[in-house]
């Protein structure tokens, strides 16, 4: 009886693990799309609103959802609190703290880090250029992520269940 319950637990855990991986795969393109929107909003704030960077980041954090809200909110707070530090430092701190909550991968993090190097140190035209560049890179990443999701989402779902069943058979 206890053996059976344990076997069911293992199968359930394997299935859930597979579904979790599939969920993360489907979260990634969505979050990339959201961050593209956030960056475009940031561009608007910088070019037309001429808002100071901490406030602009705070406004964007207010409109974003989920982990991106944490990311931009943290960046804004870091900027306000360490007055002497550069934008890049604050941006990197925020990325380091908030990145593990997102489903995005290293490629997107590199784009964000590159953006942080140029944010807030040059005039509007230059920043617009860099923001547009980041958006374009993220769009390419989004296409790749959507492709990945289509290919590997189903695979992870069935693979989780099968791995659970395999472990149960091996140990039974």
């Amino acid at each position: 009886m206890i053996k059976l319950i344990g076997a069911l637990c293992i199968v359930f855990a394997g299935t859930m693990l597979g579904f979790y991986r599939a969920l993360q795969l489907s979260e990634r393109p969505r979050q990339i799309r959201q961050s593209i929107l956030c960056l475009q909003r940031l561009e608007t704030e910088i070019v037309y609103g001429i808002t100071p960077l901490p406030e602009a980041l705070k406004i964007i954090a207010g409109t974003a959802a989920g982990p991106l809200r944490t990311l931009f909110g943290l960046a804004s707070r870091e900027l306000e609190e360490n007055g002497g530090g550069s934008v890049q430092e604050a941006w990197e701190q925020a990325l380091k703290a908030a990145w593990s909550h997102t489903s995005m991968k290293q490629a997107e993090k590199d784009v964000f880090l590159q953006l942080g190097m140029t944010l807030g140190i040059s005039d509007r035209d230059d920043q617009t250029k860099h923001l547009r560049l980041a958006v374009r890179q993220l769009q390419a990443e989004e296409a790749a992520a959507a492709d990945d999701q289509k290919r590997y989402g189903g695979m992870w779902r069935s693979l989780g269940l099968l791995a659970g069943v395999l472990i149960v058979i091996l140990m039974y």
Partner: protein, 67 residues
């Protein structure tokens, strides 16, 4: 006898599950992974069979060598 039948069913189950994993991985274009999974499954089954053969040889020894 009962234990032996169980072991055969276990090996059959491993074979079925490994075959399904192989198909899934192959369909998603990860053929190298699929082959690795098959190889690992084969090795696991081989270990089980070898341990059973070990028992068989021990039986034969006790029968023919009176030891």
């Amino acid at each position: 006898m009962n234990v032996d039948v169980n072991a055969i069913f276990q090996i059959a189950g491993i074979g079925i599950v490994i075959a399904m994993i192989h198909t899934v991985l192959k369909q998603m274009g990860k053929e190298d992974m699929a082959h690795w999974v098959t190889l690992i499954g084969f090795v696991v089954v081989l270990f089980m069979v070898v341990s059973m053969l070990n028992d068989l040889f021990k039986e034969i020894k006790t029968i023919f060598l009176f030891q």
